[in-house]
């Protein structure tokens, strides 16, 4: 089952305690696609400007990413983000944001994208998320991300789109902000009341928590000795998570959802090992399977009773 993703394609300037990179390919839709493509075909919808070098993104094509929904606007430049991380890699400091052509982005789906049965609405204006969803005929599975900016800036549109999605992927601080509730169990229940029956809470180095209707699942953060750049970790997580579900016919039972969270965690753990898309470029299926095994060693224990 292929996945339609809509979101940003960007150039990033990145600074972490482990180095600096300028003008590297980034953006939520790009990171998602690079990760999800290990599991399922992807249809990318986004916009870039006249400064965009198509060669930089073309490595995704042989991996099954259809780029025919990537609009090129010749009257402006590509979305540009400049950010810095301190030793606490959980928190990015935005230094500059130039929306450029992304400011007037009007996602129009190619005809063959409208039959998508699996959709990921990356972190963009909830009004655009709604506009995308309206164009899709009969989606079976819709997952979305959002951020603090839309929670405070467009609460009504956000509530409208939340009613239409099965899965919300959101970080821990934003979970609390959206629900005005510190306790994550209570917060997840509130979100489930807004629409999405599955809530995946991303916790950076602490891993992820999944709340479904009948169970809760916790995935560890993978303890890495060398990590270079957390940019894109959340979207790589979403790529592994949604990618795995799409690969398995969008089955939403406990077995598949739990494995999907681990797939997301596996992909995020690779993503942070290098700057931009560098790790995703050279990653192999063998490495993915090995890290999946490592997640088992990290979190499984022997099963008989303890007292």
């Amino acid at each position: 089952m292929s996945i339609l993703v809509v979101g940003s394609v960007a150039y990033d300037d990145l600074e972490t305690p482990f180095g600096k990179r300028e003008r590297v390919l980034g953006g939520a839709a790009t990171h998602f696609s690079a990760s999800a493509s290990f599991y399922s075909p992807v249809q990318l919808v986004g916009v870039v400007g006249n400064d965009f070098n198509e060669k930089e993104i073309s490595f995704l094509k042989p991996r099954g990413v259809d780029l025919s929904g990537l609009q090129i606007q010749t009257n402006g430049k590509t979305f540009h983000w400049k950010g810095r991380y301190g030793f606490d890699l959980n928190e990015a400091q935005t230094l500059e944001t130039h929306l450029n052509v992304f400011a007037d982005f009007n996602p129009v789906l190619p005809e063959n994208f409208k039959k998508s049965s699996c959709v990921f609405l990356a972190n963009i204006d909830p009004e655009l998320q709604l506009r995308v969803l309206d164009q899709i005929e009969r989606p079976r599975l819709v997952a979305m991300d959002t951020m603090n900016y839309w929670i405070t800036g467009k609460p009504d549109a956000l509530k409208k789109i939340l009613k239409k999605v099965e899965i919300l992927l959101i970080n821990e601080a934003e979970t609390r902000q959206l629900t005005q509730e510190r306790n994550l169990v209570k917060a997840a229940k509130k979100i489930q009341g807004l629409g999405p029956k599955v809530v995946a809470i991303k916790r950076g180095e602490y891993g992820a928590l999944l709340f479904a209707d009948s169970f809760v699942f916790s995935a560890p953060g993978f303890p890495l000795e060398d990590l270079k750049d957390p940019t894109g970790a959340g979207d790589s997580f979403a790529g592994g998570f949604v990618g795995y579900l799409a690969k398995h016919g969008a089955q939403m039972d406990a077995k598949h959802l739990k494995r999907a969270v681990i797939c997301g965690s596996v992909m995020a753990s690779f993503q942070v090992e290098d700057f931009g898309l560098d790790r995703m470029r050279n990653l192999s299926k063998k490495e993915i399977n090995e890290r999946f095994e490592a997640f088992k060693t990290l979190s499984h224990f022997e099963e008989n009773l303890i007292v």
Copy 2:
């Protein structure tokens, strides 16, 4: 195998967003004993003052806690701590600390305690931890806790005792403080270089990470909808962890260490459900085994490869 524990026995005044309690029985050695006693016999070494009501701690006796090492000093009062937690329950704010008779505590072990093969040195002055260890003939397994106060105040004594222990239980912030290293993988290696081959890092609601010589293990925090008071969670964790190891002959292989971390996490998850020792008073083995099962549901996933 029984466990000797040395540490504080205290009265606590507690304030959390969920209520207030005055003069409840607390202290590291008390919390440890209440938790560990579900797994192994315990020998408690500590000191209290002339205001201490022995009846309050006597519920531990039928559970196999030997209180003959609890000194009663008639010339002073019991250690008294007053603390407050905000909605971020990970961080306690100390309002008052009255060491009272604990200030001159000189731990002298009863003869029959000196043959202990399993020892937990709760968070006290590292010089006292050394003095206790010197009195024990041939300990097979020594675990310890410490805190920021000793890391900055008595670094030399701390390094001396670290050389003599197999296991350090320590919280995340103190791990970084002790090693001056933000990355926990690197920090754990530094600690292993100081002595303890096993480092259990306590992360509050995020669970615990265990670093051993040949593997790393991550235990989730248990997602609780109602928690009232985090006081004693770290010592309850230590109680389940060391208690489980003592019950199984202090075997330090991966199988036992992983299960020990889960036992610690199970006990800490109960501890925070009520104030002081209230939850530990009415806890049953059946509930412990059920929560152990819940930890499996929370963290285990199906094992075949993903891509």
